[in-house]
Structure formats: C-alpha cells, structure tokens
Assembly symmetry: C2
Homo-oligomer: 430 residues x 2
C-alpha cells in the first residue's frame, strides 16, 4: 500500500517524454513518486482529490536570503548605496540569531503557501535557517555566506565557519537539507580565499553558491582591478564548473556567456530583485540560446518583497520579451522549465519532474477561479495568470505540508503573531 494517491488532476509532468496528462493519478510512496499515469491499480493510506487542480512539480527558488524575510518592506525606493549602506547593513549588524530563525520560519511558511518546495540560500546565522528548514519540511541547499575583503584572518575564520556549517548540516532532515559553500562574490572575496574555498568544496564534494555580476559597479571594479570582468577572472582561477550556482549574471558579455555555457555553471536569474534595485536586465534569452543552464530565484525579501515564484516566472518572461523587443522569447513552457527542472538541477536534486523514481516534491494549483478561467492552455495560465496564492496543496519528500490551503506541520498563526510582535521591537539604528 502506497502513502498517497492524487486523483483527477491535470498533470503537468514537465517530463518531455510523457507530456501532460489531462486527468491522471500520481502515486507517492516513501518520499518518492512511484507512478504517474492515466490510472492505477495501486491503493494508498491517503487519497487526495485533485479535481479542478493542476498537479505540477514544486517550484525551485535558486537564490534567496530567507532570513531577510524579517526585513520585508523595511527599506524601499532608495538609491542602491543608501539602501545597502544606510539601511540593510546597519539592520543586519543588529540582527540576532533569533531574528534569523524567525525570519527563516516565516519565509518557509510563505514558500509552502506559494508552491516552492526547494530553495538555495546564502546568509549568516545559517544554523538557525537550517533549523527552520528542518522544522518546516521543505528541501533546501544552504550555504553560509563568506566575505573576507582581503583580510587573511577573516578569511580563515569565515572558511572555518563555512566548513563547520557544511559538516553539521549536510544530509540533515532525512536528506532534505544539503549544503554548499557560499563565497559571497568575486569583488568581496580575495583571489586566495576563492581558491581555498574551491579546494575545500572539491574535497567535500560540495557545490559553491556565489553572486556574479549583479551590478555594473562590480563589472567596472573587477575590470579596473584585474583587467577582466568577473566571469573571465573566475574561469581563469579554475573556479567555474557544474558545481557552481551563480546568482544574477546581469552584466555578462557574449564571451562570458560562452564561458558560462561551456563550464556548465548554473545561473540563477532574479528579475524582480534586479528590476527593483535597478541592477539591470540579465541577457537570459541569449544565455538560454547559448546553452547556459538558467533557473529562477526571488532573492531576499528586502529587494522583492515576496518569495512568490509564480510572480518571478511571469516577470522573467515579460522582462525578456520587452528587452529583446520580441514577444516570442521565453515561452510559458520554457519559463516553467526554468522554475522546475532547471532549478532542481542547479541544486543537484532528483526533483523538478513528475516521474517514477523522482522526489515527491509537488504542488496542486486550484484552477476553478475567475482569473484562471477559461482554460485554453495550462502552461500559459500558470505563468501569465496565476499567483502563489492559487496553490492549494504542497507536498515535499512525500509529506503533505499544506492541504486545501491549510498548513499542516507548522503553527501558522503563532508564527505570524510572534513575528509581528517581534518586528515592533526592531528599531534598527542607521
């Protein structure tokens, strides 16, 4: 007897061999998908009626700072320098471990509600983020964000903290938590430090999560200091390969796009944050055309200000269309691939497709709503009409985390109330 059978749903498998199933069943057992078909002989301890719903792989958010959910709406509409130096950095410097735990738990709750089943994160006090992920039931690839600014003593301390975090948490939560090394960016980490981190990551067989070329400022600074921009520089250091998750890549030129493609780097595109901070428009259509593996991320709540991957998918499609002056670039299907399969690959997960043997990480979207009626094309609705709030049911690792809009494992009311109380006491000095 299996654990769960979902019946009567339209199944968007994201499996190119199988295609969609108009009305099918998904059998889940022991954390994995056992069967995806028109019908089944199997029986299960629990049945979920997917009538009126689309079942699809859970969305994978490949770049987040989930602790920052604490700072949602704390600073907006400011020049980047003022936002960062006068608001975010001072607030972060006064942020406690407990703040990060609360912010992370709130972020996990929002992800479960909006259909994200796995995410990649880089921040500090990561043991408390990991604790929140463990409790929430989500899947995550977590990294402690390391910066040395060329200070050797700091570099050593940061790497030790990174190693400790990876050793403590990799594989925890029944394998839902994996870890990565998180050197912050090529312009905030020294060459020596980047080399040490890469060597450690190879030794531990772990990937690296890094910001690359989010701003034109980084491009200018790197070119001035090293005579070449970040991607060329990192490639020459031997840093770039399939075990690198690079956030943003807004200011890459054509030569750098080819390097990203050839080295197999996973790029996390964060259009909402890039627009809100006026960082620029990443050449995603060109990257995809050159074979770069591009997925999607929300970035932190201080620059978004939510964690809604449905919004991220729509914004990604729209921004490429208008910037390329071509409404046919980034089709709904392509964007769904970025939000599911590509994201799962970027995190090294056996997820992102509804297929036997894959992780049972999936969501049901309630299609019986005015803004999703009528239905001519399901992928179109998921990308261009739906929002995270349309998700009804979220399952991760075969465990139901939300059913029919009700959160199962977490005490939602208590999380919201305690965060609201807690935020009243936050008086960040700038």
């Amino acid at each position: 007897m299996a654990d769960i059978i979902i019946r009567n749903a339209y199944i968007l498998t994201m499996d190119p061999e199988k295609g969609d199933i108009q009305n099918g069943v998904i059998v889940i057992d022991n954390g994995l998908i056992r069967e995806v078909a028109e019908n089944t002989e199997a029986t299960a301890r629990k049945e979920i009626d997917g009538h009126g719903c689309v079942a699809m792989p859970g969305l994978v958010n490949t770049h987040c700072h989930i602790g920052m959910t604490l700072f949602r709406g704390y600073a907006d509409d400011l020049p980047l320098k003022v936002w960062l130096e006068e608001r975010i950095w001072p607030a972060e410097s006064q942020t406690t471990e407990d703040d990060i735990y609360r912010g992370s738990l709130l972020g996990c709750l929002e992800m479960i509600r909006s259909g994200t089943t796995a995410f990649a994160d880089m921040y500090f006090h990561m043991n408390r983020t990991a604790q929140a992920v463990e409790e929430s039931g989500l899947r995550a690839a977590l990294s402690y964000g390391m910066i040395d600014f060329g200070d050797t003593a700091k570099a050593d301390a940061e790497l030790q903290e990174g190693i400790r975090f990876c050793r403590d948490w990799n594989g925890r939560g029944d394998g839902r938590i994996t870890t990565m090394y998180g050197p912050h960016a090529p312009n905030t980490c020294s060459r020596e430090f980047l080399l040490k981190v890469k060597a450690q990551a190879k030794k531990d067989e772990l990937a690296c999560h890094i910001h690359i070329l989010e701003t034109q400022g980084e491009r200018d600074a790197m070119t001035a200091e090293h005579g070449e921009s970040s991607v060329k520089y990192l490639n020459r250091l031997g840093f770039l390969d399939r075990d690198v998750l690079a956030a943003h890549c807004v200011w890459v030129n054509e030569e750098e796009i080819r390097i990203l493609a050839d080295s197999g780097v996973h790029v996390s595109h964060n259009p909402v944050s890039n627009m809100k901070l006026a960082s620029g428009i990443a050449p995603v259509a060109k990257m995809l055309a050159e074979g770069v593996r591009v997925s999607l991320g929300t970035d932190g709540c201080a620059s978004n200000n939510n964690l809604d991957m449905f919004e991220e998918m729509k914004t990604a499609a729209l921004l490429q269309k208008v910037s390329m002056k071509d409404p046919s670039v980034l089709s709904a299907r392509q964007v769904l691939e970025m939000g599911t399969i590509n994201g799962a690959k970027a995190l090294g997960l056996n997820s992102g497709i509804l297929k036997a043997g894959f992780n049972a990480d999936l969501i049901l979207i309630d299609m019986k709503q005015a803004h999703l009626t009528p239905v001519f094309d399901v992928p179109s609705h998921l990308v261009y009409s739906a929002v995270g709030r349309d998700v009804r049911t979220t399952i991760v690792n075969g465990t139901v985390l939300m059913e029919n809009g009700n959160i199962v494992g977490l005490d939602e009311e208590q999380i919201l109330r305690s965060m609201e109380e807690h935020a009243k006491g936050l008086h960040f000095q700038s």
Copy 2:
C-alpha cells in the same frame, strides 16, 4: 442611521491632508463616504470588522477590453503580427454578443475579487459589456471602439453606433455607468473621422478614449504619412485636452510629453501588456516629472493575462526603476496614487480618496498573511508584496460586492462553470 460602518481597519485614505489612520472608522451612507475618522458617534445598519485589514480606495483600471477576458491564454508568446492577425482578429471576427457578455461578466467577477472598483473599457458589442457591468455592481466608463480606416461609409456607421451606445447607457446603473467615445487610434481612424468624433464628444460633453503610440510601428507610420508623430498630429487637430484618456503612450518623445502635460490629457500606462507584447517601455517617470496625469491599466486579458491591478502597480514601479537605472523613481506611494486618485480623475469620478463626500468605492485587504508579515510600511506591502487575491472585501457605490472573500451579488460558480463549458465550444478559425 448610516448604511455601513467599517471599524478597526488601518485606513490608507490617499487624502494628502489627512494621511493614514492607524485604526479608524469609515461611515458609508447612500453610496457616499460620510465620515473617515479615528472614531464616530454614528450607527449603521451593517458593521464590518476591519481588524487585521487595510482599507483603501478601490483601484481604478483605466484601460481594458473586458470582453477579451474570454481569450485569456488563447494566444501567447507570438510575434505581434501573428498574434494579432492570425489569432486575435480571426477570433474576434467570430465572437458573438453572447461571448462578449460572458467574457465581460467573468472580467467583472475577477475585478471584484482583485480590488478594482472602476474601469475604463473600449471594445465592441458594448451593450452586452454594459449589461454585465450593470449586473455586477461595478463602476465603469465604457466606450464603443470605432475604426474607419478612411472608409467614409464605415466612419458614419461607426459614429452612429458610438452615439447610440452613449445615449443608451450614459448614467445607467444608478450612475455607475458613464460613457465615452472610443476612436481606436490615430493610425486606424482618418483625420476627418477623428474631427467628427471630437465634435460629437464636445457636443455631448463626453470624453474620448483612444490608443496612442502603443508601438514603434505607429510612430513610424504616422511620421511617414503625416510628417509628425501621433501626439503632435492629434494636438494640431485640436483633439487633445482634459477630456482625453490616452492608452499606452509608449513611444512619445520629450516634445510630445510636454504636449500631453500642457493639454491635460490622461495617460493610461499598461506595463504588463507593453512588456508581454514587447511594445516597449513608456517613459512614465519622465511623464510624471513633466506633470502628465498618468494612471494604470491592465489592457485586455489576451495580452496580460489577468486583470490584477496590484500586479500592475508592482510591475509599473519595477519597470521604471530598471529602465531609468534608478531604484528611487516611482515610489510605492506614487504608484498607489496612479492606481487610485489618478485613475479616478481619468474617468471623471468622484472616487479614489477615502474622504467625506466621495463615492464609497473601497476595498479591504487581509494583511494577516505570511507574505504580508511583518509590517514596517503599509504602502510598500500593497505595491511590492500583495496580490489581488489578498482583497477580502469590495464595496462600490456603498454596496458590498464581496465580503470576507464571498461574492455577494453574482453567482460565481455558475459564471465560472458556464464560461468553462462555453470555451470548450470555441474553435476560432484562423
């Protein structure tokens, strides 16, 4: 005794003299707001508890083709010419009056659910759209879209239909329905026709709703034919004044921006549609700086693909920030003004502010949710974190159209089911 009192809500009045009220009351009587205050002596037949909610003026969507809600997701990701000529036009040519009624009713339902209380619309079979608006309880400024393509007989017939529609419907639905003349665009209507329409509109004391410079193609064609682009051309014809609602204005140059400001034209900015069709990026920050009255619209569902004005507000802010390379342009407050007061002015409505004497067109947004927690700044959350689905209660003209997520006046289930059934039978020949 008043009709309704709303208590315990955070009130975003949008009234610059009054500012926000942290915890206040709104007294509604006879379709109007009677009082907005910290407290009241008044009593009412109905009390609404706004605890945990923000009360704000309903959003005003200043450019829509609501009948096209029928075509949601029918054609996406196509080059503009293919989308229009091979998909939308053939579908429209086979669209019946009944289709338009169903599409409009569905669109009204979506607007009520997502917090839009008034909209401007231009399309065909408008008597059926007006019927849907009358039944829905929404407020709307409707126009029959007229095109002559230089054909004199067609011009006369179109104008007669426009006159008939205005005479039949202006002031209907207890004054909730007003009418405008709808000459489609300066490149689809002849000079003579535009002059005749303008004269008729002046005679009837009605405004005109027109598309201006949505595409670079219009700019090029107008310049080739008339030696000047659309805004200069229309200004020379004496067409432009405060009684003009101009949709899009994407391709206006600096001289044209000054003409729009000086003539008092109301511009409807439609960022989602402009991005999805790759039309371009309207210079909204420049227009606002020059004093142009800019409001927001969703455009039709064939190019959006929803009618969510919260999404439109966020997209408007983000698109200006990234295109101007300045994260401080279009603040959350400014965007809220565009979505409320500016929209109301564009439609000639006494709405858009919560203040005694104004129309009781307002909404309550449920803030007790993960993606709206914690709250540092209410306007930030409304623009950058919320979605239309967060609206709990919608009131138009003092009548409750949705309360606590339940639609009051319309049979939602029947509308959705009948539209879904109806769409199955639609096989548009292209």
